[in-house]
Structure formats: structure tokens, C-alpha cells
Symmetry: D2
Subunit: 196 residues, 4 copies
Amino acid sequence: MAEARGRLMGEMLIRFLDTLGEQINSLKRELDPSQVEELIKAIEGANKIFVMGAGRSGFVAKAFAMRLMHLGYNVYVVGETVTPRIGRDDVLISISGSGETTSVVNISRKAKELIGSKLVAITQNKDSTLARMSDVVVLLRAKDKTQKDENLSSIAPLGTMFELTALIFLDGLVAELMSLKSLTERDLEQRHAVLE
Amino acid sequence: MAEARGRLMGEMLIRFLDTLGEQINSLKRELDPSQVEELIKAIEGANKIFVMGAGRSGFVAKAFAMRLMHLGYNVYVVGETVTPRIGRDDVLISISGSGETTSVVNISRKAKELIGSKLVAITQNKDSTLARMSDVVVLLRAKDKTQKDENLSSIAPLGTMFELTALIFLDGLVAELMSLKSLTERDLEQRHAVLE
Amino acid sequence: MAEARGRLMGEMLIRFLDTLGEQINSLKRELDPSQVEELIKAIEGANKIFVMGAGRSGFVAKAFAMRLMHLGYNVYVVGETVTPRIGRDDVLISISGSGETTSVVNISRKAKELIGSKLVAITQNKDSTLARMSDVVVLLRAKDKTQKDENLSSIAPLGTMFELTALIFLDGLVAELMSLKSLTERDLEQRHAVLE
Amino acid sequence: MAEARGRLMGEMLIRFLDTLGEQINSLKRELDPSQVEELIKAIEGANKIFVMGAGRSGFVAKAFAMRLMHLGYNVYVVGETVTPRIGRDDVLISISGSGETTSVVNISRKAKELIGSKLVAITQNKDSTLARMSDVVVLLRAKDKTQKDENLSSIAPLGTMFELTALIFLDGLVAELMSLKSLTERDLEQRHAVLE
């Protein structure tokens, strides 16, 4: 693409794609298999699964929840209309790059301390309030929106790299879960909404 | 990651990450610079920008809209609370892999034919109803949820590859727009919501 | 309230409350019991219940769906994250004052004609596209947003009177359903979300 | 309606409508004009208006925000896609019957203490955490979901009466604001979304 056009347009897009390619390679190397295993156990062992996130991490949480529904899990998004009461046998999966988002931290604490639900953090900050109170932490190394990084700030601003990494990781996890449960694309399609 | 564990867990995740890496390389090669240029012109030339999509493509549309707001554009999501009337000087960016989603096609037709707004399609199907009626089409080659592909169906089921490609492309476009408008991460941060 | 203050403030609010009081009396007189009965049968007989509406009618649909969940029904909102495929044994309850809203009409037609689901219209327009294709129509007499009424336009503009009437009717229906199913407030509370 | 049918169906619906009629009369008598005046001043004096609420109170907040947009205000819903950073010259209107909802209390505190925004509480609990930290409190007497009331619990369970009272009050306030700003239904219609 770069050759066919002038300097201004396309160059940053190409640099962004290259950076993301490297990030995917890092993810492959650095992801801790034991954390993935614990996350799968939490999902498989739960009665109901709840997900939450704020801002763009919230859209990642919803995109993952939709696939969990397609896979046949009993899953809900915190704050949506038909989301019921969470219980002790349920798991809350909270997505926050910084691990300090006001609503995510407060709601997660309520689930963990008041209800006694299992709490999973998907974050890039292992020392965060969210990570420290969670039963399972999946650490995704990626600049989050509170970190400064001169190389990244002009091509993947704010939490972009964390949000993309989280969505990519979770879509990879969907592939794992499909295999684990011996489901085919056809099985998922049978549950996919048609009123849209 | 693969070496440290048995067959069952991790293998599909690794295959997914490899497939996505290849998809990013394809995107770099196959993206048409003139389509990107037209999309940027449509965004820059619009009075107000509206985005829409259904299902996971809807979350991609929202993630993009949030960044357009951070960049200072006057942007709205079709169906959200404070979204005003669209006008002739506005653009609607519709995201649909198949280009045949009921609500997206009908709402896009209304914007185009009844209101006279500019219509941009982000799709993988250049022969779709959506693409055929659009002023600008950005074609993203990727399996969408109506296509069958034996290699992909078990690692990136339904529209996964289109949805990820769309989000990745649009986040790359944000890098382009930042450069074009000489904005820094700090400028975006100043507009980022804090009540979350 | 009126005596304690000048002309400008409070007068329109009082006139609005008086108008709504009269509307509730009209609703009591004019609601057709056989339509209510058919709606209850449709809800009770459905495998899954789907609701939809656009704009403020969409918020009414969601408020009703939340109570149906509290009552123990298997209920979903069209367009939300965890909403599955609708089937032949399911019902779609569509709320539209005019009965002509683009997305509501097109999605309802798809449910009715393509899937074969039962369709219920809650509308004030019995001659509308939505009403004409529905299996059950609950007619709520109230100005909708496409109608002009000089007396109402300055105190209950656009679809206000229809939207309030729909919410009030549906909350009354919740009382009916509680009684029918012998449920207490405590039963509803047990299902009410706590993560909020 | 009641005469035409047996005991089971319709009776609870009629009782609900009668109870709501009485509630509207109470609202007329008990609403404090000075609180309404302060709310109008807060809305008129704000640079940007933010609204929030959880559950059904969240739908009330959104229905009000949509009308404020139709009236020409610069309004946003906390948590929606295009909602920008709140500032010192902005107002946050928080709706919570109990005044103790986790997310509403924590987000409101952040707006008030960290940002210095003006905070308005719409609640039925004047001693609540939310009311105590707010600059303006509009007190709406109505059973909220944490209160027990034997007469009400079987016809207007949980927060039903507060939520309806809040929506009705705010729609009455819209009539006040239309008059105050000399706007007609036609002015509102010009801003009403057509892509729906």
C-alpha cells in the first residue's frame, strides 16, 4: 500500500499494522499458560458468567460475551437489561487495562466481597486494585491508557493496544473453548441472533 | 507458550494468533489506498458523522466512534440516546461484513435515499446491497459470518475475522487522522471520559 | 405547588400532570380486555420472549423486559449482547407509537415471515404496517410523535403521551402477571441485579 | 374494563392505574417548587449536562436526556459511546431512588469531588449518600426498591413507583423548559433522530 501513495496518508496506518503484528508475537511468547488454564476453569466451572468493562474495554467485554452465548454459556453483561442477580457460584470477568477504573473496581469489589462470586481480572497491571482482589488474573502486557510511551502514543494512543490485545486474546480463547467443547461453527450459528 | 503445555489447551489459541498475524499482512498488501483516502475525505468533509453496525460489528462501530470523539469530531452512534437527526451534509459509516444485515441495510437506505446523506460502507462484500448503494466502499478482505471456510471455521468462527480486521483497520485510521490533524495523545486524553 | 410561585415556572408542569391523570382515566376505560388477555397468553405461551422498540419506546421496552426477567421469564432485548436466535415458539413484542418505525417494522417482518415467530404490536395506530402484520395488537390511544394536536403539543410533545402510556400499561401488566403467577415482591427481588 | 371480565385478569391492572393516579396527585401537592427552580437553573447554567442512573432509573435518565437533546441542550449519558470528559462548568444529574446505588454513588462522588462539577440528585431518599453530597436535591416521594410497603408491593413492586414518578416529573419538566425557551413541538422534531 505504501508505495502507491504520498507520505502523509498510509504511513501511520502501516506503522500501526506493523506494531500490532509485533504485539501479537509478544502475546504468543508472554501469555502465561497457567493463567489461561485458570480462566478456562473459571468459565467452565461457573453457573453463570458475568462480564464487565468501561469504555472501549466494555465493547471488548460485550464482543466476548456474545461469543460465550454462541458457545452455549449462560452469560450476562453487567448493566444490560436482562442481567440477573449474581451469586456465589457465578464468575465475574472484569476487563480493565489500568485495573483502576472507578465503576469496574467498585462493582468487582461488591461481587467479590459482598456476594462471594469468583472474580477474574483481565488487565495489564498486576499491581492494580482490581488485580489484587481477583481470584484469577490474566496479565496482558500492553500499554494502557494511563501509561506514557513515546513510540506508541502517536500510533496507538491511550488504551488502544490493551483493548486490541484483550479482544484478540479473548477471540483466541473462543477457539480454545470451541475445541474443548467439540463445537463447530454451525453450532455457534444456531445460537447467533437473526433479528439484527 | 505451546511447549509448556499439552495438546488440548493453547494450540488453538496459537493457531488463532498466527492466522491473525497473516491477516494483518494481507490487510497491508490488499487495502486500496484510494478507498482509504475517500474515507478520510468523507470524515473530514462531514458536518456530523454517524456510525452503525449490528452485533459485534456494532461494537467495532462504537469503538471507532469513541476515538473519533477523542479526535474532536462531531460523532454519533445510530440508536444511542443523544443521537440527533442526520442531515444532507452528514456522513453515515455503516459496518457490515456481509453487507446484508437487515437493520443496517434499511437504515443506510433511509439515510442515503430519503435524507441525501453521504454513505460509507465498510464491508467484505463488494456486491452486497449495502456496498452497491454506498458513495464510498472500503473493502476489507476477510471471511464474514455467512461464508464457509473449513480452515477458518474452527479458529475464527462466524464473522470473527471481518470484525477484528475492521477494528484493526479503523484503529490504524485513527493513527492516520491523528497525524493529519497534528494531534497528540494528550489532546485525545483531554476529551476522554473520566466518569466511567 | 402552583400558588407558591409565579406564572412561568410550574404551570406547564401542573398542566402536564393533569393531562397525564386524564390519560390514565382514559386508559382504564378504553383498554380492550380481550387484547390484554391475548398479550398475557402470548407471554405465558412463549418459549422465549423478545422485546424491541426505538428511541424512547426502546427504553419502555427495556424497562418492561427487566421486569419480565424479575418475574422469571426467559426474555431478551433485540440488539443487546446476549440475545440469541429467535425461533418459531418465541414471541416478539414490538413497541411503536406510529407502527411505522423503520427498524421495528423490518425486524418484526423478519421475525414474523422468515422465522414464523408470534408477533405482538403495542401501538396507537391500528392501521400501521406493524399492527397489520401482528398476531396480537394492543391498542393504546395516545398521541404519537407523528400526530399533531394543538392542546398536547406544548405540554407532551412528540411521542411523550404514547411512551408514558405504554410504560404505565406494561407496569400494570406486571401487577397482573405477579398475581397470575402468585409471585411476591420478594420473588422479584431475588432475581434483581445487585451489580449496578 | 373491569366489568367485562372475571376476577383474575384486569383487577390488578386497574388497581395499579388507580394507585398511579393518586401518586400523580401527591406529586402535584408535594413537589417543592424551589427544588424544581434550582434544577432548571442547574440545567440552564451548565455548559454540558450529564445524566446517569442504573437499571430502570437508567432508562428514565436516558429518556430525559433524549428530550434535553431535542430541546437543544448539550447532553450526554454517562457510559455511552460519545460521552466526553466532564468539567467544572458541567452538571451531572444522577437518578437513584435509594440514593445508594454503587455505580451512581461512586461516579457522582468522582464528578463532585475530583472534577468539581455541579451534582443534582433525583431521589426519594433525602438522607442518602447521593443526596447528602449533591448541590441540588429533587425529592420525589415514592416507594423505592429497598422499602417495604404491603399495599404497594403486590401492585408496584420494587422501584416501580419511584421510576414512574421520576419519568413523569422529568417529562413535566420538559414542558416547563419548552415554555421557558419558547420552543414548539416542531423545534423538537427538527432534532429528533430519523435513523431508527
